[in-house]
Symmetry: C2
């Protein structure tokens, strides 16, 4: 028989042989099992330390059918929102002795499926997923369910029944945002929203409407425009909004980047920011503080905290503290942050 890999690493078998005891005794000694005598324990531990013994986790994973690993699948690792979320996930996973396996889908459904497949083969204990923009088919997640691998979705949550999810309620933040503008005296408030099918866009829209209703103001559908989040899309959205008969004095933009594009456009049109026109946005990107005209306020979406919450939910699922079939949808509140300058 060929020895596949010699790796050199000492095993419990090695320790057992040298000490003339059985491997089971060594294993138990290293785990501080009560049925092992103190002197034996000491001898084992001493030799283990001397040999630089390190337990072969792959063997344990295999034997236990558990890997203490969670898979995390996101559209884009380099996006600020997601990279903060990863940070939150890794931190709480780390402090619970879990490790994190990473994959990015680039919003490609096929790649998403392949990554899920690979994580399943890797026998991750659970997954945290933010789905891609174009994902319409959810059979890969159905496979995970069948394999009894729990999944917690976050932020970009699929429209499915019976899932575990963590997301942020943008409605509340939007209401705060519109409230803020109304209190400043604005009456004609535009909104540059994102693609219609996105849940996030819907929440923004309903928040906007609810805020107006709260103040007994009429909602004018003309004031909401769906854009594609590119600079060009923002430009035409701005062009449209500024062309309306009713003079728009404030605009809620989909995120800080859109806001910055919109500001550029407004400047070209010789509008004075915060006077002729005021912007409120989402994400609260720190860098917007460096711009000449940051949005007057921005809705914080707490990516780090969402990552933490999703991980905690997954861990309680894994620990059995929470039944797998008790589907919970944790919704965090977003919060308007006012930039005073």
């Amino acid at each position: 028989m060929r020895k596949v890999v010699s790796s050199g690493q000492p095993t419990i078998k090695e320790i057992a042989k040298r000490l003339n005891i059985s491997v089971s005794t060594v294993s138990r000694a290293l785990h501080d099992h009560h049925s092992i005598g103190l002197k034996t324990k000491a001898r084992v531990k001493e030799l283990a330390a001397e040999l630089n013994y390190e337990r072969n986790q792959t063997a344990v994973y295999f034997q236990q059918g558990k890997t203490f690993t969670i898979g995390i699948l996101l559209p884009e690792l380099s996006e600020a929102f997601f990279s903060s979320a990863i940070s939150g996930i890794e931190d709480t996973a780390y402090s619970n002795n879990y490790t994190v396996l990473l994959g990015q889908s680039h919003d490609d459904e096929d790649r998403e499926k392949q990554i899920i497949q690979s994580m399943k083969q890797h026998r991750v204990d659970g997954c945290i997923v933010s789905i891609g923009k174009n994902t319409r088919n959810y059979e890969h997640f159905e496979m995970l369910r069948q394999a009894r691998i729990p999944v917690v979705f976050f932020d970009r949550v699929p429209d499915l029944p019976n899932i575990h999810a963590v997301s942020v309620n943008l409605e509340s933040g939007t209401i705060q945002a519109v409230d803020f503008l109304l209190k400043k005296g604005h009456r004609v408030i535009g909104m540059i929203n994102g693609p219609e099918q996105l849940v996030a866009s819907k929440e923004r829209a309903t928040g906007y409407i609810k805020a107006l209703r709260k103040h007994r103001l009429k909602y004018d559908p003309e004031l909401i425009v769906n854009a594609d989040l590119t600079a060009a899309g923002t430009d035409s959205a701005m062009e449209y909004l500024l062309s309306l008969k009713r003079k728009v004095t404030a605009i809620v933009t989909f995120n800080d980047y859109v806001a910055m594009d919109a500001v550029q456009y407004a400047l070209k049109r010789k509008l004075e920011i915060n006077k002729d026109i005021t912007f409120v946005s989402y994400a609260n990107t720190p860098v917007s503080g460096y711009t000449a005209f940051p949005p007057a306020a921005s809705v914080e979406q707490f990516p780090y905290e969402q990552g933490q919450a999703a991980t905690n939910m997954l861990l309680s699922l894994l620990n059995g503290e929470h039944p797998l079939n008790d589907y919970t949808n944790t919704i965090m509140e977003s919060q308007l942050v006012i930039h005073n300058r």
Copy 2:
């Protein structure tokens, strides 16, 4: 004997039993081994598909002593530079059928050690590491070497002999930056550099000096100041530079964030940007394009590409295409990007 986990997942044993053949035949059939008859292969594959068989990777990993997993250890997952790098690493790992295990050190040496330890126990095949700011002790990497786990360092590379590394040569970019300023007529050029012990700081400084020498200009040490990269630190650096007898008309800042802070300071001092004072910087952060006064140029450091290069290097080490003890230090050239507005 207690059955540890029933998991429900079918195994090759199951397939073998149903087909009345041996497990070895099943295994080989699934691997398209030449010594298995075509009809048997077909039968096996059919049943495997029907049962939704999926190979238990943990068993394979264990048996082969290889996990097709690479560990990546970075100071901060949420920093733009590193998250781009992660993206590059994940992409090339993915297309080579490797998966990626993640850990962040938060620049804490102890945590760095623990993560390395955990990755070692996880039996990752190799590691890609960017060390923490405060790491002075490298014994954890020495342990990896002893365990024959190859490590490729990138960007933040320790000052050790005999390591594999990928980094970007900031000297060339700095020379380009200073060249750029000289051509624009600037003669008194300041530099807000980072902490002295950082290699990156040293490279910036030598690049600066070399560029001046190239143009037969005298180097005035007073013009380089080391700062701590905080807004306050930048302010005092600016105060110092602007207080010099020789009038500084251009400043090279450590990165775009420092540049933005410096711009704010200059504005407070009623200086006109790009007229009284011009800034050139590093990182080429896209967001700086939105600011009122972005640096006139910025040295691109190619984090995504560095990630790719590091991964490719590690993979060729793992595939034996490159001997482990042939230490290579790939240095990519940074490149000045001029922002025309």
